[in-house]
C-alpha cells in the first residue's frame, strides 16, 4: 500500500533534516522550483486533494480564490490548532515528520508567490511546538528557508506561533485574529481570508496534513495521488481511532477505506470482544453513526451521503454499555465551554443545550425536553458567524435522532438507566 506521509514515521531520526534529506526529503522542492508555478497548482487541483481540517474543501480550488494581482503580499497560514475532540493526526505529522510540513509550506508558498508563512499551533502542543521551532531553525540554517532558498531566488519567512488554548482558534478567521494578537473571535464574512486575511493581506489557511501531502503530489504527480483515493477525493488520509479498541492510534489509509475495515481490521476491533454501539466518524462535531451504519467508505462524499462527515478523520468508538445521554452531555459541555461568545445563537444556545442534556442525564428531565433540544438546534444551525454552533448541533441532533429511546427513558424514569449522575455542577 502506498504511504504518502507515514512511510518513515517509525524512524526516530526522520524528524531531523539530515535523515529527512537522506530519505529523499526536499527533492520535491527542488523539482517544484524547476516547475512553472501554475503547474504546481494544477497538479494539486488534479490530485483532488481535499482539505483535511474538517470541511473538506478542495485545496487547489481554495488557492484559486487569491486575487489575481500580486500588488499585495500573500500569506500562507498553517492551521495546526488541532483541537477537534477525537483528532490527533496533525500532532503525529509534527512530531514524526515535521519536515514534510516545512517542505509542503515552501512548495505551496512558491506556487502561490507567498513570502511569509505562519504555523499557528495549538497552545497545548508544547512538545510539538518545540520540535517545529527546532525544525524551522534547522531549515533556515541549511538554506531551506529564508533568503534565496536552495539558490532558487525564492525567499520565504516561516514563523511558528503558539495559540493560547481555545478550540475556536481552529476556525480559520479566529485563528487569523489570534495570530494578529487579537481576541480569538471568528470574523464576519465576507470578506474572506483570500482577499483580506492575516494582517489585512490575501491569505490561504490550510491544515497541516493537507500541506504535508503537497511534496508527494509534486514528486508523483496529481493524477497518481488522485488514484490512491476515490472520485473527487484523492490520496490517503490519516485516521485517528480512539475509544476501547484493541489498537487505538493513527492509521494512514487510502481515502475510501471502509469504516468497518478501519475499526475491525486496522484498529483490531473492540476490546474484550465488546459490541459496537456507535461511532463518531470525523471528530466530535460530526453526526454519530449507529453500529449498523459503518459499511461506508471513509471519504468526504460517501460520508456526506449518509448524513455525516469525514471531518478531521477522528474516529471515536462508542461501545455497548455507554449512556448516549451522558456522552452527549460531555460533548455539549465542551461546546458551551468553547463557544467564543461573539454571536447570539451559539453563545446562548450551546450553554442552554448543555444544561438541558445534563438535566436529562441527571434524572431531572422534563416532558418536552427532547423537543426543546431539537427546537434550539433549529434556532442555532446555520444562524451563526462560524460553524461552532453547527458543530454543537450536529451531535445533539444525531444523538437524538438515532438514540431517541435513551433520552425518553431518562425522562420517563427520572434517572439514568446506566446509573450515571454528574455531581459537579455544569460550568455553563
Amino acid at each position: 500500500m502506498e504511504l504518502v506521509l507515514t512511510r518513515h514515521f517509525d524512524n526516530d531520526r526522520y524528524r531531523h533534516l539530515d535523515t529527512y534529506v537522506e530519505l529523499g526529503g526536499y527533492e520535491a522542492l527542488r523539482k517544484a522550483f524547476a516547475m512553472p508555478k501554475e503547474r504546481i497548482v494544477e497538479e494539486v487541483r488534479k490530485a483532488n486533494l481535499r482539505g483535511r481540517g474538517g470541511a473538506g474543501f478542495p485545496a487547489g480550488v481554495k488557492w484559486g480564490f487569491l486575487p489575481k494581482d500580486l500588488s499585495r503580499p500573500r500569506v500562507l497560514v498553517i492551521n495546526a490548532d488541532e483541537g477537534e475532540p477525537g483528532t490527533f493526526k496533525d500532532r503525529l505529522i509534527m512530531s514524526r515528520g515535521p519536515h514534510l510540513l516545512i517542505e509542503g509550506i515552501v512548495i505551496t508558498c512558491f506556487a502561490l508567490s507567498a513570502h511569509s508563512a505562519y504555523i499557528y499551533i495549538r497552545g497545548e502542543f508544547v512538545r510539538e511546538a518545540r520540535i517545529l521551532q527546532e525544525v524551522v531553525d534547522e531549515a533556515y540554517a541549511k538554506g531551506y528557508l529564508g533568503k534565496d532558498i536552495l539558490g532558487s531566488g525564492f525567499d520565504l519567512e516561516v514563523t511558528v506561533h503558539r495559540g493560547a488554548g481555545a478550540y475556536i482558534c481552529g476556525e480559520e478567521t479566529s485563528l487569523i485574529n489570534s495570530l494578529e494578537g487579537k481576541r480569538g473571535w471568528p470574523r464576519v464574512k465576507p470578506p474572506f481570508p483570500a482577499t483580506i486575511g492575516a494582517f489585512g493581506l490575501p491569505t490561504i489557511v490550510n491544515n497541516v496534513e493537507t500541506i504535508a501531502d503537497v511534496p508527494w503530489i509534486v514528486t508523483h504527480g496529481g493524477e497518481k495521488f488522485a488514484s490512491l483515493g476515490v472520485e473527487k477525493d484523492g490520496g490517503t488520509r490519516l485516521i485517528g481511532v480512539s475509544g476501547p479498541v484493541v489498537r487505538p492510534g493513527v492509521y494512514e489509509l487510502p481515502v475510501g477505506t471502509s469504516l468497518r475495515a478501519i475499526l475491525y481490521e486496522h484498529a483490531g476491533g473492540l476490546l474484550d470482544g465488546k459490541e459496537l454501539k456507535a461511532v463518531i466518524p470525523g471528530g466530535s462535531s460530526t453526526p454519530v453513526l449507529r453500529a449498523d451504519e459503518i459499511d461506508v467508505p471513509f471519504s468526504i462524499d460517501a460520508m456526506a451521503k449518509i448524513g455525516t462527515m469525514a471531518g478531521s478523520g477522528g474516529v471515536i468508538v462508542i461501545p455497548e454499555g455507554t449512556c448516549m445521554v451522558r456522552a452527549l452531555s460531555v460533548l455539549m459541555n465542551f461546546y458551551a465551554h468553547e463557544s467564543c461568545g461573539q454571536c447570539t445563537p451559539c453563545r446562548e444556545g450551546t450553554g442552554w443545550l448543555a444544561k438541558v442534556v445534563r438535566r436529562i442525564e441527571n434524572g431531572e428531565g422534563q416532558e418536552g425536553d427532547v423537543e426543546l433540544i431539537l427546537d434550539l438546534c433549529d434556532n442555532m444551525m446555520g444562524r451563526t458567524i462560524c460553524p461552532l454552533a453547527d458543530a454543537a448541533v450536529m451531535p445533539a441532533e444525531s444523538f437524538i435522532w438515532k438514540f431517541r429511546e435513551e433520552f425518553d427513558r431518562h425522562i420517563r424514569e427520572q434517572k439514568c438507566p446506566y446509573g450515571n449522575r454528574f455531581e459537579v455542577p455544569c460550568r455553563s
Binding site: 481555545a166 481576541r183 464576519v188 465576507p190 458551551a336 465551554h337 468553547e338 463557544s339 467564543c340 461568545g341 461573539q342 454571536c343 447570539t344 445563537p345 453563545r347 446562548e348 444556545g349 450551546t350 450553554g351 442552554w352 444544561k355 426543546l372 433549529d378 434556532n379 446555520g382 444562524r383 451563526t384 458567524i385 455553563s428
Partner: protein
C-alpha cells in the same frame, strides 16, 4: 445601480449598500441590535437575518450587499422563527428588571419582544447566569452586565470613534461580558454616547438615571449651545424641565455623537434662571413689571444718548443669541441708538477643553453668526476700556457673563456705568451688577438659528414657552425698540430671519425651508 426586490417591492439601491439599508430606504424595518450606521459591521447579534433567493442559509442583512436581481424576503415564516429564536436566546439570562431600568420605554429588547417575541420563557430562573450590576465604569456611564446583549456597539465606538478602547469583552460563551480593564475607567470626553448607542439598559447615563420615565418625555429638535461646533441634539423635556440632550444625526456636523460637556448643557435651561424682570437700586432688588423694565431701560438709553451723545451708550451682544436676535441687536444699536459701540466677545472664563473632533475652543454656539452679521469682536476691548474710563453712561448687555472676566472684575468694571440693562437667562456676574434685568427665554424656550464654526446655519426649535415671566429675545428687543420710538413689529423668529436674509449678504437667499433639517452654509462675501 442594482435593482432588487424586498418583500416583492422593487428597489433601486446604490452599489455597496446592504440589504438592511436598502430595506430601510423603502420603509421595511429589519430588526437589529449590533448594526449602527456610524460603526463597523459586527454581524454578531443575528437579529437581521433575511431570506435571500439562491442562498441556502438565512443571511444577515447588515453585511449582505445588494446585487442586481436579488430577491429578498423579510416576512417569511422561516425568517420570523429565526428572529424570535435569536430574541429568545438574548433574553434567557436577562434579568427582566424593567421596572427599575432606565431604558424601559426605549429598550430594544422590550420593543422587539412586543413585535416578535411574546413568548413564555422556556428557561428556568435558577439557570440564569448572573453578572455584576451597577458598575461605575467612569465618565457618565453605569454598566449593568446582566442586561447586556453583547452587541459590541460600545466596544466598537471606543475603538473606532474615540480610539480609546476602554471597554473589552472578557470570558467566553454565555459568561462573556463587557468590562473595563481593572483600574482603567472610561477616560474620554464622549462617554455619554455609550448610553445612546446601547440598545438595552446595560449602559445608562449617571446623569439621567432614575430622573424620569422616558415615556413622559417630549423631544424638541435643537442645537447644543455648549460650543461653536453646533451638534444637533434632541432636547428631551417634561413640562418646563429639560431632562437630557441626546445627539441627533447630522452627518455634516456631528454624525450621531456629542460630547460629555455639551450633554450637560441642558441644565442651564433649568437651573439659576432669571424669570422675573428686576430693578436694582442702592443694593436692593425689586421685581417689576415688563412694562416698567422696558420703559426704564429704553428711557435710560435715550437719556444717555441725548445728554452725552451716542458714543456714551454701548451695546454688548452675546454669541449665545440666535442670528435673528443678533440681527435685531445690530439694528437697534445702529439704527436707533446710532452708537458705534457695538461688539461681542466669544471669550469665556476658565479652562476650556477642545479637540479635533466635536469640541471647539469657542464655547459659544453663535460666534460665527455674530461675525457674519457684522458685529465686531475687535471692538470689545475698546468698549471695556471706555467703560473703565467712565465714558459709557448706559450699557445694554446681552448674556450672563462679561467675556472671561471674573465675578470681582465684572463687578468693579460695571461700577463705572450709571445704568446697566441686562438681557440674560441665568444668574451670573452681570446679573449681580445690573440695574435692570430683562429675563430672556433659554434656548429651549425660543426658536431661531445658530451659525456654527464652519458657517453652517442650523435651526433650534422651541420646546416649551418661556418659563416664568421670561420673554424671547425678539420680544424683548422689539419691546425696547418700540419704546425707543420705532414702529418695529417683529413677532417670532420666522419674519426676523426673512428680514435678515434680505439684508445680510452672507445669508442671502436663505430661508427656513432651505436650511431644512441639516442646516445650510452661510458664506462670507456672498
Amino acid at each position: 445601480m442594482p435593482k432588487l426586490t424586498i418583500n416583492g417591492i422593487s428597489v433601486d439601491a446604490p452599489e455597496g449598500v446592504t440589504i438592511l439599508e436598502a430595506a430601510r430606504s423603502i420603509g421595511v424595518e429589519i430588526p437589529h441590535y449590533c448594526y449602527h450606521p456610524k460603526l463597523s459591521i459586527a454581524g454578531n447579534c443575528r437579529m437581521c437575518l433575511v431570506e435571500v433567493e439562491k442562498f441556502p442559509k438565512l443571511q444577515i442583512s447588515c453585511n449582505t450587499f445588494v446585487t442586481e436581481g436579488m430577491v429578498v424576503r423579510t416576512d417569511t415564516e422561516k425568517v420570523h422563527k429565526a428572529v424570535t429564536g435569536v430574541l429568545e436566546f438574548l433574553l434567557i439570562h436577562h434579568p427582566v428588571d424593567c421596572p427599575i431600568c432606565d431604558q424601559a420605554g426605549e429598550c430594544g429588547l422590550q420593543n422587539y419582544y412586543m413585535q416578535y417575541g411574546l413568548h413564555k420563557s422556556r428557561y428556568p430562573l435558577e439557570d440564569k447566569v448572573h453578572k455584576k450590576k451597577v458598575q461605575d465604569i467612569g465618565g457618565q456611564i453605569v454598566l449593568d452586565a446582566e442586561r447586556c446583549i453583547l452587541c459590541s456597539r460600545c466596544v466598537r465606538f471606543l475603538q473606532e470613534v474615540t480610539r480609546t478602547g476602554e471597554l473589552e469583552f472578557f470570558h467566553r460563551g454565555d459568561h462573556s461580558e463587557i468590562a473595563i480593564f481593572p483600574g482603567k475607567p472610561l477616560s474620554n470626553h464622549y462617554t455619554g454616547n455609550l448610553a445612546d448607542i446601547c440598545p438595552v439598559g446595560a449602559l445608562t447615563s449617571k446623569d439621567f438615571r432614575f430622573k424620569c420615565r422616558v415615556w413622559f418625555l417630549k423631544s424638541a429638535e435643537s442645537v447644543c449651545p455648549g460650543c461653536a461646533h453646533g451638534c444637533n441634539v434632541l432636547a428631551d423635556f417634561k413640562g418646563e424641565i429639560l431632562y437630557r440632550f441626546r445627539p441627533r444625526r447630522n452627518d455634516a456636523v456631528n454624525d450621531t455623537w456629542m460630547c460629555d460637556f455639551g450633554r450637560l448643557e441642558y441644565k442651564k435651561a433649568n437651573e439659576f434662571r432669571l424669570l422675573t424682570p428686576i430693578f436694582r437700586e442702592n443694593g436692593t432688588m425689586s421685581a417689576v413689571s415688563w412694562e416698567s423694565v422696558l420703559y426704564t431701560a429704553a428711557s435710560r438709553l435715550r437719556e444717555a444718548v441725548d445728554a452725552h451723545g451716542p458714543e456714551a451708550v454701548a451695546v454688548i451682544a452675546s454669541p449665545q443669541l440666535s442670528n435673528e436676535e443678533l440681527f435685531l441687536v445690530r439694528k437697534l444699536a445702529e439704527e436707533i441708538l446710532s452708537t458705534p459701540n457695538l461688539a461681542f466677545t466669544s471669550r469665556t472664563p476658565g479652562e476650556t477643553v477642545s479637540d479635533d473632533f466635536l469640541l471647539r475652543e469657542d464655547k459659544n454656539p453663535n460666534s460665527r453668526g455674530a461675525q457674519l452679521l457684522g458685529i465686531s469682536e475687535d471692538r470689545f476691548d475698546g468698549i471695556v476700556r471706555r467703560i473703565y474710563e467712565g465714558k459709557i453712561r448706559a450699557l445694554l448687555f446681552f448674556g450672563n457673563q462679561l467675556g472671561d472676566l471674573s465675578d470681582g472684575e465684572t463687578a468693579l468694571l460695571l461700577q463705572n456705568v450709571p445704568f446697566v440693562a441686562q438681557v440674560g437667562t441665568n444668574e451670573g456676574p452681570v446679573y449681580r451688577s445690573a440695574h435692570a434685568v430683562l429675563p430672556c427665554a433659554s434656548f429651549a424656550e425660543r426658536g431661531g438659528t445658530f451659525t456654527n464654526h464652519a458657517g453652517r446655519v442650523q435651526r433650534f426649535r422651541m420646546a416649551f414657552p418661556p418659563r416664568g415671566k421670561a420673554r424671547t429675545g425678539i420680544e424683548i428687543l422689539n419691546g425696547l425698540a418700540v419704546r425707543l420710538g420705532t414702529e418695529w413689529n417683529f413677532t417670532g423668529e420666522g419674519p426676523v430671519f426673512k428680514a435678515l436674509a434680505e439684508s445680510c449678504p452672507p445669508f442671502a437667499g436663505m430661508s427656513y425651508e432651505s436650511i431644512g433639517p441639516g442646516g445650510q452654509v452661510a458664506e462670507e462675501g456672498r
